[in-house]
Symmetry: C2
Subunit: 300 residues, 2 copies
């Protein structure tokens, strides 16, 4: 299959490109404002918000599937930049859908987020896809809107819970902890680790399992359907941090940093991925493996 991956230079993009190539697919990627040096991936630099440029890339590539990863993905930042989040995540998705439609016979898979579920009572968790979306943050509002556009255009939606592994920006919690631990190990920082809300519980999925799900859904996902990408088990951020510290072998003091707290934080997001599992997916790696790889990538 010939697959176009938008935002191939990002955290998921590099992992996904590797996965697709391993499975024998041809991979073309788009980037915008980020440099990347993925071997065997044909790259096109194009702005999602340029419908003409994007359609031209799609027409040139003629992919059988587009896996649409490009977007703004930081919940905290979305409170400061809602308009940018709307434009990139909603209008950008619309441009991808239009370009795919114009190119004919091209499936679109949107990478979305469990954040769209919002505050779901514990007794309705792990969450199934039929749970009504109830987005609580600008980021989640834009992803929920992009989902609706995708579903209506016959695309497939992957609602990803917390993907974790090497390569994620340290604006996110676990990579931020890993970077601080690495700095502490190198003596660049006192042995004090700054943290935000540690009580939130999240369903962590190893990034390699996450991209395997995306690759599978791009091939086998039902048009207009939504699939959770989740392990089915939640850990608190505190527990993930404890494991990471233990993997690092360091002794550190933990200190709350008000700057790292968010206006709204869901206490629990745990997903039921039975629908995805029915297509043959199952997670192969656990949280410890993800944390181990994350640590290995940053410890220097």
């Amino acid at each position: 299959m010939r697959v176009l991956v938008t935002g191939v230079g990002g955290f998921l993009g590099s992992h996904l490109a590797g996965r697709l190539l391993d499975r024998g697919h041809a991979v073309v990627g788009t980037t915008w404002g980020t440099s990347t040096d993925l071997l065997r991936v044909e790259l096109h630099e194009v702005d999602l918000l340029d419908p003409v440029g994007l359609a031209s890339v799609v027409r040139t590539v003629m992919p059988e599937a587009i896996i649409h990863l490009a977007g703004l993905s930081h919940v905290g930042e979305s409170w400061q930049r809602p308009a940018d989040y709307f434009q990139v995540n909603v209008l950008g998705t619309e441009n991808v859908l239009d370009a795919a439609l114009e190119a004919g016979n091209c499936r679109v898979l949107l990478a979305s987020s469990a954040e769209v579920y919002g505050l779901v009572p514990e007794e309705r968790q792990p969450i199934v896809e039929t749970e009504p979306v109830a987005p609580r943050t600008p980021y989640a509002l834009t992803k929920a809107a992009a989902e609706r556009l995708t579903v209506r255009a016959g695309g497939v939606v992957a609602r990803c819970f917390n993907l974790v592994g090497p390569g994620q920006s340290d604006r996110f919690a676990l990579p931020a902890f890993a970077s601080q631990l690495a700095a502490i190990k190198k003596g660049e920082q006192d042995a004090v680790l700054k943290v935000g809300n540690l009580s939130a519980r999240r369903d962590f999925v190893h990034v390699s399992d996450g991209v395997a799900a995306l690759a599978l859904l791009a091939e086998l996902g039902n048009p207009g359907e939504i699939y959770n990408v989740a392990s089915g088990r939640a850990f608190s951020i505190a527990e993930a941090l404890d494991r990471l510290i233990s993997i690092s072998g360091l002794k550190v003091e933990i200190k709350e940093d008000k700057e790292r707290l968010r206006p709204v934080d869901m206490p629990l997001l745990e997903g039921d991925a039975a629908k995805l599992r029915a297509l043959g997916w199952k997670p192969e790696k656990d949280l410890d493996a993800a944390l181990g790889e994350l640590w290995a990538a940053v410890r220097g």
Copy 2:
């Protein structure tokens, strides 16, 4: 024409029903949780979020057009209740679009808001419809998303600037001022008027001109097109308040109330309605007329 008006019990709904009846249309309305006693309007109580119930109403009524007013419309409140705003404004609109599609040959007009434009530099005002949307508030994010769904389904969008006149909830600035003035006049409140941000400049449209625009667009709007409903002239809230006080003939002290300030407030929203005017619309009543009617309705 047989027209179904969603949210007919609201501020715009009652004015619009009158306008449509005057023009010889048959009017059917939906309400939900509000009571209304509109003469000559057949009413159906149905939740926008109940797609089956809504589709059943539409199938029964078989309208030639749906004017979709129902929704949550308070910018300030949307920061507290983003999930409700998403569900009602986005999923509700989707249900209306689906019901219309199922009923066949039924036009949909969505009442949207100039808030979707966000912070537009003064030199690009009055704003034309080609200005990229850049929503900055949860309310605006949901309306911008609802617009995209409507446009893609071949519906028409009316992007309303500040509609003003009798009947608007006093959670909005001018009706809140009018209510306070009425209370002062009746001796129920000291002669101190509590206000929020008075420096914001807004393009006020008399509600009767606003609903005339909606009625016109339901008949003549081009499928998939967006139309500003605007006077082309902005006044500061301070100026509108001065005029209202002068109309009331009262002497009052003005006091800023921090509770009434919003996290984000656009300094200027002024619209260019050339596209709507080309269909034959023009505003017939000015701000003073709207304020006069508003005052007459509340002064008791």
